[in-house]
């Protein structure tokens, strides 16, 4: 009897452990009629990109499986998976993540010619990833509170005591870190360090995300928010009575990207190529321009309604390769200034 009890304990434990291991077979895929399939890791929000991915699936007959999570988490996952990754394509919210994957040799070369029409500033020089859309850094503000002539012309103006306590920032956000990196390439480390110190002395209000910054502007909690351009537009489409609009700085302006890369050794390589081409097609670029208010990056494409054309923005022209190199120092500068 006692033996039996002991045996039972061992068996239950083993079974329970094994059950955790994996009883459910992975979706082995009774695929769409064509039998073609594509696995996408998307660091971009489901609400923003799903309608377009659905369209791609419908038009191509390819069954698309998408794993949505934060860009940071997915990048770490892809690095841990190594060449065992099931992913074919990574659609990233920022360039830094793609650069980190490329540096680890996880990204394959894009099909030649697919990114030829993309503004070459936004294409990896090694052709391992390309920008899909641009996200301009802007000041979100309420025109009823600040008349246009008083707006900062240069990014450096917000370190002026005039803006003491009036600015909102999301300093841990990847887009702020990238912006700081771009400023370092353009103006040098010393000037950027000084700017960050002055900015910190100006007691900006810090937030966890760009969305919270824009909401703070809308609520009148801060007068000026340094964010990406589409947050004000999204706020407006969520709440039509929102007073928040964008102002584009003339000096130190920067356009970040959302981009895509194909994983080394992707099982569904042809489908992945098709997907990248679709994102850069007229249809794909139009979707982002009209539905998510992002800048298309293909030459000659219009800007989202009501926004200045990408060519008209006097942005930092730093090449992508330079920007991705040393994000860590940018993060350290931000922390050292006391903005983290």
């Amino acid at each position: 009897m006692r033996r039996l009890f002991q045996l039972f304990l061992i068996v239950t434990t083993a079974v329970a452990l094994a059950a955790c291991g994996g009883d459910d077979a992975p979706d082995s895929g009774t695929d769409a009629a064509s039998g073609r399939k594509l696995i996408v890791y998307s660091g971009r929000n489901e609400n923003l990109v799903r309608p377009l991915i659905d369209r791609f699936a419908k038009e191509s007959g390819i069954k698309v499986e998408v794993r949505y999570a934060d860009t940071t988490e997915l990048t770490a996952t892809l690095l841990e998976e190594g060449d065992a990754t099931p992913a074919d394509v990574f659609f990233s919210q920022d360039a830094g993540a793609l650069a980190a994957l490329a540096a680890e040799g996880r990204l394959a070369k894009l099909p030649s010619g697919v990114a030829d029409d993309v503004d070459q500033r936004f294409v990896d020089p090694g052709n391992r990833f390309t920008g899909v859309t641009g996200r301009a850094r802007t000041f979100a503000y309420d025109p009823a509170e600040i008349p246009a002539p008083e707006l900062p012309r240069s990014i450096f103006d917000v370190a002026d005591p005039k803006w003491k306590g009036r600015l909102g920032l999301a300093p841990a956000n990847a887009s702020f870190v990238s912006h700081v990196s771009a400023l370092r390439v353009e103006f040098g480390d010393e000037q950027v360090k000084k700017f960050l110190a002055d900015l910190a002395a100006n007691e900006p209000q810090l937030f966890d995300s760009n969305t919270l910054v824009v909401q703070a502007v809308a609520a009148g909690e801060v007068d000026l928010g340094l964010v990406n351009h589409y947050y004000a537009l999204n706020e407006k489409s969520e709440r039509p009575d929102s007073p928040v609009v964008n102002a584009f700085p003339e000096e130190g302006a920067f356009v970040n990207l959302a981009g895509v890369g194909i994983l080394e050794g992707a099982e569904h390589r042809d489908e992945a190529d098709e997907f990248v081409a679709f994102l850069l097609s007229q249809e794909g670029q139009d979707y982002f321009r009209t539905e998510t208010n992002e800048y298309p990056l293909v030459d000659g494409a219009d800007a989202p309604t009501g926004l200045p054309a990408l060519g008209e923005l006097d942005t930092i022209q730093a090449p992508l390769a330079e920007l991705g190199k040393d994000l860590e120092s940018s993060v350290r500068f931000i922390a050292d200034a006391g903005l983290a």
Partner: protein, 512 residues
């Protein structure tokens, strides 16, 4: 050699599964630049983490322990309703709680602004609200099965109310209270949602910033190793605080032995309701506000039913597996408290303070290499929940198992009952409350789990927590709100039966 070879083998197997994340961490951390370990930044993060953990634990003890005492030892009315309500903040994801507190009481909050909320104090308040239900549920299960004869003896011998509390009640629930405090402290160590929104620099936030800024896995792993070090220190402290356990010979709950509150009744009810009003009420009102402001707009509500079923199924599976697996660990430690069983118990708890992302990445690392067929399956999600939350089941089950008097089981065996029959008719009724409370803790925590779910789920499988995140992460609050409300509702419904069973009198069960 040993009286319980099978039990100890089973316990060791469980502990082995529980240290998977640690093995991964040490592999990664060895590749890191060791100078980070002694840097000013690491010291600062460690100090800030400790400060927060200690503050939150004290707060949780006060609120959770106090609530448990009010509910089990006084004649406060509407005990069942108040009890379920008081435990409800457990169902609120900490990032939702933090968002709600900021939007209600932030610098320009919709209610009124509280200066100094952002940072230490805000994080402390939000985390006390997330963790006091651990103390409440575990302490209350212990109080419900504690021996009242001691208390009545103390009273008969003329002890005052406070003396009864100090000499008769506290010693009996000391093990449970200390186990629950450990859970609170370790929860603070692992939390990311609250400290991120309230911008307080703990080690866990440091790990995320490390990934976010440079994707440096080794540096992140090194910070996580420090987190494991803190965990071991807290576990050692808890061993000291636990004290000897007084076995319960017979237990009986008699309403007439409850402290009469009299005119204090309204204050007692307020003390039970205020924390839950802040911890569950404010998030609910804020979420209703999001709905009201933005309307449903038909976005994402169609998948809520499926998401709710998925959340429920995964969390329930995790709760059952965690309770079953914690038994050999707890029993081995109780029956022969030697170095072996203590090591096994420590190992089983040592990963509890790790942030979900780290546990998820360790499972990515292990399964893609060793069990590729299991990768990105529902089974792996359940495994991740069990690995993350088994210490909750252990914290609740262990004190109640330890309180079973061996004389009772010996008597049953002497009277000729088989081992099984003894377990079923004597042991189980005595420990049922603790086990159910433990299962409820795992269930409710798993319902709101996000980072491991996001990474390990099969593509296209959504849980309620994922739906909340999908909406809230880009500011689509109108979409996040219904998911958050359904999450709260499902959790509340699950709490009702769990509350009843985990507090039921073991005596009634023995008689019946």
């Amino acid at each position: 050699m040993s009286r319980f070879p099978a039990l100890r083998t089973a316990a060791a197997l469980v502990a082995l599964a529980m240290v998977v994340p640690l093995i991964y961490l040490f592999i990664r951390a060895f590749q890191a630049d060791g100078s980070l370990l002694w840097s000013a930044r690491m010291l600062q993060m460690t100090w800030d983490t400790l400060r927060l953990a200690v503050t939150v634990t004290l707060g949780s003890l006060l609120i959770g322990g106090g609530s448990a005492w009010l509910l089990e030892r006084t004649d406060v009315p509407l005990r069942r309703t108040l009890g379920v309500a008081a435990a409800l903040p457990l169902a609120v994801p900490s990032y939702v709680g933090a968002l709600a507190v900021v939007s209600a009481f932030g610098p320009q909050g919709s209610a009124f602004g509280i200066p100094g909320l952002i940072g230490f104090w805000g994080a402390a308040v939000v985390l006390v609200l997330s963790t006091y239900p651990y103390v409440l549920l575990i302490t209350r299960a212990a109080l419900a099965s504690a021996e009242l004869t001691l208390e009545s003896a103390a009273r008969t011998l003329g002890s005052g109310r406070w003396a009864v509390l100090g000499r008769a009640q506290l010693p009996q629930v000391r093990a449970a209270v200390s186990a629950a405090s450990l859970l609170s402290a370790l929860y603070v160590l692992s939390d990311f949602g609250a400290v991120s929104i309230l911008r307080y620099g703990t080690l866990t936030r440091g790990i995320f910033l490390q990934y976010r800024s440079s994707f440096d896995r080794s540096a992140a792993a090194l910070i996580a190793v420090v987190l494991v070090g803190l965990t071991l220190a807290f576990i050692a402290l808890e061993r000291l605080a636990r004290g000897p356990v007084t076995p319960a010979r017979s237990a009986n709950t008699a309403a007439d032995r409850r402290v009469r509150l009299g005119r204090m009744t309204p204050f007692a009810m307020a003390a039970l309701l205020v924390p839950t009003a802040l911890g569950a009420g404010v998030p609910t009102i804020v979420a209703l506000g999001w709905l009201n402001r933005d309307g449903l707009q038909g976005r994402g509500t169609d998948v809520l039913g499926t998401a709710a079923a998925t959340s429920f199924g995964l969390s329930m599976a995790a709760a059952v597996v965690a309770v079953v697996l914690c038994l050999p660990v707890a029993l081995a430690a109780i029956r022969r408290p030697d170095w072996f069983s203590r090591t096994v118990e420590t190992a089983a708890q040592s990963g509890y303070a790790l942030p979900g992302l780290v546990v998820a990445l360790s499972l990515v690392f292990m399964t893609t290499r060793a069990l590729p067929f299991a990768y990105q399956t529902l089974g792996l999600v359940v495994a991740a929940y069990v690995i993350r939350f088994l210490p909750e089941a252990l914290a609740s089950a262990r004190p109640s198992l330890a309180a079973v008097d061996p004389k009772l089981t010996d008597a049953s065996r002497t009277l000729g009952a088989a081992r099984w029959s003894t377990a079923r008719r004597v042991t189980f009724p005595l420990v049922r409350g603790g086990l159910v409370a433990g299962g409820a803790l795992v269930f409710l925590t798993a319902m709101k789990e996000l980072p491991a779910t996001l990474i390990l789920r099969p593509a296209g499988v959504d849980t309620l927590a994922v739906r909340v995140w999908t909406g809230a992460s880009e500011g689509f609050y109108a979409q996040a709100a219904p998911a958050a409300l359904v999450l709260l509702a499902v959790s509340a419904l699950a709490l009702i039966p769990a509350w009843k069973v985990s507090g039921s009198s073991p005596k009634a069960a023995v008689d019946g």
